[in-house]
Amino acid sequence: MPFEPVILFFILGLFAGVVRSDLKIPGVLYESLSIFLLLAIGLKGGVELARYALADLVGPALIVVLVATLIPLVAFPILHRLGGFARADAASIAAHYGSVSVVTFAVAASFLARIGEPAEGYMVVFLVLLEFPALLIGVILARRTVGKTKWGPLLHEVFSGKSIVLLIGGLLIGWVTGAEGIKPLDQLFFALFKGMLAFFLLEMGLVAASRMADLRRAGPFLLGFATLMPLSAGLLGILTANLLDLSVGGAVLLATLYASASYIAAPAAMRIAVPEANPALSIGAALGITFPFNLLIGIPAYHWLAIRLKGVI
């Protein structure tokens, strides 16, 4: 089997969307599943984190975050200058790609688990840390001046956003409780995780199908961007991982974080902070192209690369 089985659910959803099946997954189920996934990923990360000395993570975390800021900063001029996108659109798309997709991360983690490739348990911390800096950068890029923006509401929006609250909340609960204490919750949050992910991917397939239509209007430049950007960012992730001496599994996860584009936190934040940006472009690219691209091609490719590049840098 070349594919993670969960990806087949995504393809089923995509198919149902494309043939205009009357299969509709209630919006409430989408929200419930996304709460579940965020919480479960946080909990799992927190339990793993208990095995590490937090102080040892500060340095790597700083490097991971700093390197990641390159992504929106490079994506923006490509989109604005080369692609001819309006400033707001280029900034918003850059923010989406600078931030991360929690579900893509989860699929990569389960890809690694299936092939038995271990990874550092603290990668979830990077997931949390990478979620928001790009959003702030995106707003600055869009506004041109830092002064004009009302940062208060935006910072509140970002830090009290549901994905941050659930991920960090889960991390802390997992960390405080530890592997033993969390056992009674294992059945829901860990044993069911992959099934719930499959269910969610079915839903994402349906949503992605409806987003692909948006993209037809967007032109080939964005299509190219939405596949080359993750590949380059993934490569950057692998090199950064090598710099930090992470395992192959860790490199794949970091590559996936860098390569993935957010569609939970970013769309809501950008919609409010950069109203002039057309969400059809950013969401269309992130969800209609990059998300399936990472699932089907990106993750195995990053694994292939991570093995070959092991030790480089």
Binding site: G27, V207, P267, R271
Partner: protein, 102 residues
């Protein structure tokens, strides 16, 4: 018309669900004393919004208020949101009990 009833405006706003917090804050600031929200989906110039996930969900807000407040709100919404967001508003006259409540 029933003698107990008075005329007030009913302002209905259909917009992207992401705007809920902002619009509700504006309504209060502009003098609305209450509002009612239902979840909605729809279609319009900004394309189909099927409520399958948060980014494509709409809400439908109703505000009972005086004509003055209604005009203020419409004016504000137009300036603040119309250019960049999917939003539709309409106004009509309705009869209410307790006119001082709205």
């Amino acid at each position: 018309m029933n003698a107990q009833l008075s005329l007030r405006k009913l302002l209905t706003i259909v917009c992207e669900a992401d705007l809920e917090t902002l619009v509700v804050r504006d309504l209060k600031a502009l003098g609305a004393r209450g509002y009612t929200i239902t979840d909605a989906r729809g279609d319009g110039t900004h394309g189909a919004r099927d409520a399958a996930w948060p980014a494509s969900a709409n809400i439908r807000i109703e505000v009972l208020c005086t004509e003055q407040t209604a005009n203020d709100i419409v004016e504000h919404l137009k300036n603040r949101y119309y250019a960049n967001y999917g939003m539709v508003t309409f106004l009509l006259d309705v009869q209410v009990l307790r006119p001082d409540k709205f």
